[in-house]
Symmetry: C2
Subunit: 216 residues, 2 copies
Amino acid sequence: MEEPPVPAEAGTPIPRGIGARRRVLRAALQVLDEHGLAGFTMEAVARSAGASKATLYRHWPTSGALLIDAMDATFQPFPVPDTGHVATDVAELLAAFADLLERTPFPRLLAAFIDAAERDPALRTLHADLTRRRREPLLVALARGRDRGQLSVRLDLDLTVDLLAAPFFYRRFVAHRPITPDLINDVIAEVLRPPGSGGGAAAPVGGTAPRHQSVS
Amino acid sequence: MEEPPVPAEAGTPIPRGIGARRRVLRAALQVLDEHGLAGFTMEAVARSAGASKATLYRHWPTSGALLIDAMDATFQPFPVPDTGHVATDVAELLAAFADLLERTPFPRLLAAFIDAAERDPALRTLHADLTRRRREPLLVALARGRDRGQLSVRLDLDLTVDLLAAPFFYRRFVAHRPITPDLINDVIAEVLRPPGSGGGAAAPVGGTAPRHQSVS
DNA sequence: TCTTATCGGTACGCTACCGTTTCGATGGAG
DNA sequence: CTCCATCGAAACGGTAGCGTACCGATAAGA
């Protein structure tokens, strides 16, 4: 995905092309943000980048390949807080995530990407990979909490990450309701199960009563 | 949104147009499913419907208006089970929902719709409304459970619906991992808090410890 | 300084979709 | 049966994107 600023040493010269490349990638994200997947066009990106279509085709064979590189470049990992309290760490990560969803162009990019990933296997793979990387900080924070004894060793960490992160996506992309600060507290309260009181089931539930166990 | 099958009685005849209209709506969904939002074109829909473009423009001024009507027509409410056990009812609803996500064209339609809703306020409104209607059965099942005393009266039902439904969307559209039957059990176990044992926090969590309360 | 790969700009023919119009066919209502 | 609103088909000029090819300009490496 990267090219060294200076040719490694081999016969291939390839020295100069990265400036334009970066400008095109930035422009690609801007076009995707403003006009969605339907407006994501080689012409539109070239226009927005002040570049020539020929330049785009020199670097990327198709608009899909360009989209993949552009989305790949968006990833920025969250730093993992380490306060000693798992709930605090998780709250901080979720707050940063909520901010990403409410106050940056990220969600509009993701919405376009979700649609694209439905029909292009390569994009689908990249999307799954980016998601995995984005989950990492939360997973680390939970693992630390478990090692500290703040979480049950039987807790399925991957499932917990799902349960923690999912409501934010749901609110933003499906329900289209605002993500309130309360949501962070409520989600943590429900999923991490604080010790004391709190709402919840008060009587046994029957029928296909959940066996609590999970593999993946 | 509806036209009476037979003219109510007024001067307007409007008898014959609904056959073609339905065919076009079906075709619109098929095109959206197969080619995504980028391929959603008046020409493509007309072709797929075996209809004339003129016919489409007689009924819908723009492709966006057609998309709205088509998506609106997709809604089919789940029947609300009523077994007397809230966990069983919820499990049944979630199983039906998982099936909808894994074995029907619905999710691809929704993915296209999510992207479209980011940029068109009318689609956004419709999307929010469809989601609200889709939540209704789960909400009813939870309310019955609460009235039966199986859930705390302090439980925020809307939040609970969020927490129950969100992981399925997340798995399908974001993480791109399969929705296993275990997920249903795990989600219910976490969110509805079965009485007995089960994984979860084992020690107090400090810091910005969650105040468990929510308004909406 | 000289070379050379990459650059932006422009133009090409091609295809697809737009939104409208005109036409003859058709089928339901009176 | 007759009427007539609606239908499908076809064609229109216009716009936009595709992917390719060529150009002179330019900036980095030798």
